[in-house]
Structures are given as C-alpha cells and as structure tokens.
Amino acid sequence: MARAAKKPLTDRARAERKLGLLLCAPAGIVMLAVTAYPIANAIYLSLLRSDLRFPGQREFIGLDNYVTVLSSSLWWKDVLHTVILTLASVSLELVLGMLLALVMHRALFARGLLRTAALIPYGIVTVVAAFAWRLAWSGSEGGFVPKVLGLSTDPLTQTSTTYLVAILAEVWKTTPFMALLLLAGLALVPDELHEAAKVDGATAWQRFRRITLPLMKPAILVALLFRTLDAFRIFDSVYVISNNGVNRPLESVSVLGYNTLLNRLNLGLGSAVSVLIFVFVIFIAALFVKGLGTSLDEQTGAGK
C-alpha cells in the first residue's frame, strides 16, 4: 500500500479518485453549508450587541456577551439543571438498558415482540412522549398520578417533581436505544468464555463483571457518548414538561438559549449562550473519544 502511493497514479486510480470525490462532494458541501456557516455566524453574532427589538443599535462589543453569560447565576443554575438531568437520565438508562439488553439477548421466546415493544417508545415523537408524561403527572390537566398518590399540590409546579417527570420521560424514551446498542455489543461476547467460567464455578454476577462488562466496554462507551451528548442538548421534553407558564420550575441550557434568541430576540446574548453550549458539547465528546481510544488500545493490546 505504502509503495503504491509513491508510484504515479494510474489513470484508473485517478479516475476513481475523481469519481469518489465527485460523489461525496454534494453531501459534504451541504453538511458544511448547513453547519459550519451558521456556527461561524453564531460566533460572529455573539460578539455583537444585536437585539432585534432595537434594529438601529447594532455594534461590536467584543466578549461582553460572554462575560454577561458566564457571570450570570441563571446560566450556572441552568448548567447545573442540565448536568443533573444528563447524569441522572444517562445512568438510569445505562442500568435499565443493560437489563433490557440482557433480557432481549437471553429471552427464550418472543424476542421479536420484545424488540417491537422496546422500539415504540424510541420511535415516538419526543414532544408526544413528553406530553404523555406531563398529562399523566399534571395536577391541573387531569393527570392520574397526583390522584393515585394523593398529592395536594401540582407536581409540575415543583422543581423536584418536575425533574423527576423530565427524567422519567427521557429514560422511557431512550432506554431502548441504549439497549439496542448494548445488545449489539453483547452479541460480540463469545459464549465459550461463559461456558468455561461456568465450569470453573463462577456465579452469574461474577461472569457478568469479569467477562461481559470488560468485553463490552467499547460498546458501552459508544452508547454513553451518544446518549450523553443527546441528553446534554435536551430541549423538547423540558420545554413541554415545564411549560406550564408558572415559575419555570426547570430550565435546560438549550431552553435558555432558545428563550434568549427567539423570545427576547437578543441575538447577541443568545448566540453567546449557543456557542457556549457548543463548546460544552465538544468538551464532552473529547473526553469520551479519549476514553474510547484508551479502551480500544487496552483491548488490542497495542497503543499505536
């Protein structure tokens, strides 16, 4: 391979190269256009005082918007909210997803039925799922939960219970995805290892901890990466569940960005929030990719 690259390209290879680039170009250009340009524009806007309610007062103000956001207690409160939501829902999903994956992997019958049932929450529109949970819990909208639990105050006006409902909605909707990714990882664990361990007298838990988990580490990390990034940008369910208009019991960073951009029409300040969310996401992704890299190295035994 290395020698071939040094050689002058044959006509055929050159034509292949050209065709390959040509075929990828449309997709590549569209992806670049719809993300790189807006994000660059967001960075630019975040350096301006730009409020659509004052079209005449647009000016360059450097990093002022960032100073404002980072020194605001509301921003950090919403970051905390988002982090708690992310950690709580992703860890619950990991546990439940693993259980569901094991069930689907080991089930004696009706695996198709299980898969279908699990896919339904995942396929449902997030807003619909959020409404299902909100309408079940809301005291003022006829939910059955406050009635069954005998609650006197509306759970969705309290921060703690709103958290609970948002997490439940998120976990319900995305556990299947987690389970499917883990299931694919489970399929890679060879049965012989289990049999051998069984002969050695290992308990089911020991086998799970010593054999299944280590072999599944890359699959788990990939699943966690997907879900953590997804959970961190949570918008739909928080918007729907805490949108009773009273007290805004719960707000995620995405909701804060949305409100600043599209309700207050403060493009400068809102863009600063958006860019910061973007930076957070990159940071989380980098952490995971690093973790994933080391775990793959451990597995192949060579840190190339």
Binding site: F54, S72, W75, T157, L262, N263
Partner: protein, 416 residues
C-alpha cells in the same frame, strides 16, 4: 420488500387524505382580506365582531380571524417572532397593553394617522389611552380594558379595608376563611401586583423608558407589603404558585374572605357557587398609605396595525370598526371585558351585568400604568423573578437586587 413499500406508501397517502380533509382557506377576488391575529376570546365575541365589521365594510375588506395562544406570553412570542421576520401575513393584531413600547420602538406597528387617531381618542378613557401611546404618538386603538378590584365576603367583613396592611391584619384575625387571595407566581400577574403597590406608594418602577425608578422608598414599601402577606397567616399556602384562576377557585370554594382580582370572577361565582355569589362585595383596590387612594392595575388589549401589512388604509378602518361602541358593548356583555369608551359605562345593559361599572371607570381614570418601555418584557421578567416567591423576599437586599436586575434588563444585558 415490494409489499412493504406498498403498505408504507398507502399509509402515507392515507395520512395525506386525513390532513387534507381539514379546513381550507380561500380568498375572494376584489375584496381585501385582512388577517387579524387575536387571542381566542372564549365567548366568541371577537369572531362575531370580525364578521360584523366585514359585513359593514360592504365588500371593502374581509377580516379573517386567526387565534393566538392562550396566555399573553405565548401570544407575544408568536407575534414578535413573525414581526421580526417581516411576515406580511399579519395585518391586524391584538396587543396586550404592555407591548406598545416594544412593538413601536422596533418598528413593527404603524403609528395611527391623524384622522384615525382623532376618532380613537374621542371618548376613550385616559388610562387605556395612555397604554396605547408611545412617545406622544398613538400606536394602537384601546379595545378593552381591565382592572382589579378588592372582592370580599359581606358575611364575614362589615367594612372593607382601605389599605393592604389593614386587609392583611383583618384577614389574619378571622376565625375562618382568613385568607387574602392574590397572584404570587413568577409571571406577569405578580408584576401587576408589584407595580400597583409601587405606584400607589408614589413611586414608579421606571422613570422614563430606560431609567430605573428613583423613588427607592416606594420599591421598599411594595416589597415590604408582599413579604408581610407571605409571612402572615392570611397568605394562601400556595401563594408562590397562584395565578388569577387559582385565586378565583380558592375564593369561590369559600377559603378566603378577600380576593384581589379582575371582574371575571363575578360571573364565574354566579355560575359555580350561587350561594356565595350573594355575599360578594366589592371595594376599590387597596392602597398603601391610609388616606391615599391606590393606583389600581390596568390591563386589557389594544388593536395594532402591522408595519408589514399591504393594506394599511383598510387595516386602520377595520381596527377602528373592531373597537366601535357596538363591538365594545358586545365584548363587555358577552365576554365580561370592561370597555375603553367612557360612554358605555352609562349603558343600562352593561351596568346590569357589571354593577361595579362606576368603580371600574373611576379606577381606569387614575390607574397605575405599568412601565412604558420597549424592554417591557425583560423588565417584567427581572421584576417578577426577583419578588416571587414573595415568601423569599429579603427586605435588606431586595431594592438593590431589583435596581441591578432592572438596570441590566434596560441595557438588554443579562440573562433572564
């Protein structure tokens, strides 16, 4: 494979069929269609007004009614975003009285031309007119107004109190129903309360569109009264979640001797609790200092004409029609919305359903208008997130905090 594709295709077709069986809009040639975006007035009086004005224009224009969301925040969000996008599909809109400054400054609504403005000013009460005026120009036509009264139980209270302090003390002494119902959740209603207290104490939240009020004593007094109620026996345990309708419900079910609220509670009590209805009395909005009448809150809606309409002349004519005496009477009688035209308060039919009409008119003449500023939405957010829940107000720091937050909001700085 082919079968599943066919199945999927037929599913998609079925959905299309279902989607297209809904209402479709068609436009008549010749007549101008004006899209009026207004909140979904429950009695239907807005839709009827649109039909009536369409008929009376004799083919000059047709007013198409389009419903906005339920609460004022949703309505504003939807309008503001489209106006910022220069959307031409809005000709007329219903505007909450506090939006005038914002919409005018951003250039989203047209100032009223002199001839139409003269017509609107004639016979309109001072309070409502002030809410439609920005920097000396008329930017909207006051269509209906609203104010809060002090409602009390005649069977429990002989002489209604004149001040908040007296009311709280009086309620706390009652053996039963010793509560004062008022809005305390973090939303516009609490801003209404706070503003009424500040203006009644002789201050203002803002001195001018971009200046924080200088009378700090008034801010302190207002915060003190809120905090006093929250800490007293007279407070509703869920004060921090109460909005107008929760107040109505608590009063209607006999839990409170006092309620500070809009007149919609009156017909509601008549329908839901006729026995209690007979005991309902009303009094002027409570003041802050003895002997000094309060500046009561003023609410309601004005009609504005979009800057992006293609038919401004027709739009102004239609807006004028939509707030004429006939329509305002219908809004008042069917929908319980107090008129902005002074003469209607002498109307017999209106007075019969609105026995407190005289008091409402007096309050509207001397109302405590909420700050007129392009940044109203931000200022309001800054205020109500600071003073709600009222139980958490720290009297030592609240004035400083308020001044800072309002100041930030006025610089369109700071997250809210």
């Amino acid at each position: 494979m082919t079968r599943s594709v066919t199945a999927l295709l037929s599913l998609v077709l079925l959905l299309f069929a279902l989607a297209s069986c809904g209402g479709s809009s068609s436009s008549n040639g010749g007549t101008v269609t004006l899209n009026w975006w207004a909140y979904n007035e429950p009695s239907g009086s807005f839709r009827e007004a649109a039909d009536r004005c369409t008929r009376e224009s004799h083919g000059r224009y047709r007013i198409a009614f389009n419903a906005l969301g339920n609460d004022a925040d949703t309505q504003r969000q939807s309008l503001v975003r489209r106006l910022a996008a220069k959307d031409a599909s809005i000709d007329l809109m219903s505007m909450d009285v506090v939006w005038t400054g914002e919409f005018a400054e951003a250039g989203w609504i047209r100032p009223w031309p002199a001839s139409f403005a003269r017509q609107v000013r004639k016979g309109t009460l001072a309070g409502p007119l002030a809410t439609a005026t920005y920097q000396g120009k008329l930017y909207a036509a006051p269509a209906n107004s609203n104010t809060q009264l002090l409602w009390y139980r005649k069977d429990l209270i002989k002489n209604p109190p004149k001040t908040w302090d007296a009311m709280i003390d009086q309620a706390a002494k009652l053996k039963k129903a010793g509560r004062v119902e008022i809005q305390g959740a973090a939303y516009e209603g609490t801003m209404v309360w706070f503003n009424a207290l500040v203006t009644s104490a002789g201050g203002r939240i803002l001195d001018g569109p971009t200046k924080v009020g200088g009378n700090k004593q008034a801010l302190r007094t207002a915060a003190r009264i809120m905090s006093k109620l929250a800490g007293s026996k007279a407070a509703d345990p869920s004060l921090k979640n109460q909005k107008e309708d929760q107040n109505r419900l608590a009063f209607e079910t006999g839990q409170a001797a006092f309620q500070v609220n809009y007149p919609f509670i009156y017909p509601s009590a008549k329908a839901n609790n006729p026995k209690l209805f007979k005991e309902i009395g009303w009094a002027p909005y409570p003041g802050v200092e003895p002997g000094k009448p309060a500046k009561a809150p003023i609410g309601g809606f004005n009609w504005g004409v979009s800057s992006y309409t293609a038919h401004p002349q027709e739009a102004f004519a239609a807006a004028t029609c939509l707030r004429d005496p006939t329509n305002q009477r219908a809004f008042a009688i069917k929908g319980g919305l107090p008129p902005t035209l002074s003469s209607l308060y002498d109307d017999k039919a209106f007075k019969k359903d609105y026995p407190f009409a005289g008091l409402v008119r007096r309050q509207l003449e001397h109302a405590g208008v909420r700050p007129v500023t392009p940044l109203y939405a931000d200022v309001s957010l800054a205020v109500y997130t600071t003073v709600s829940p009222p139980g958490n107000i720290d009297l030592k720091s609240v004035v400083k905090k308020l001044t800072e937050r309002i100041g930030d909001a006025l610089k369109s700085k700071g997250l809210l």
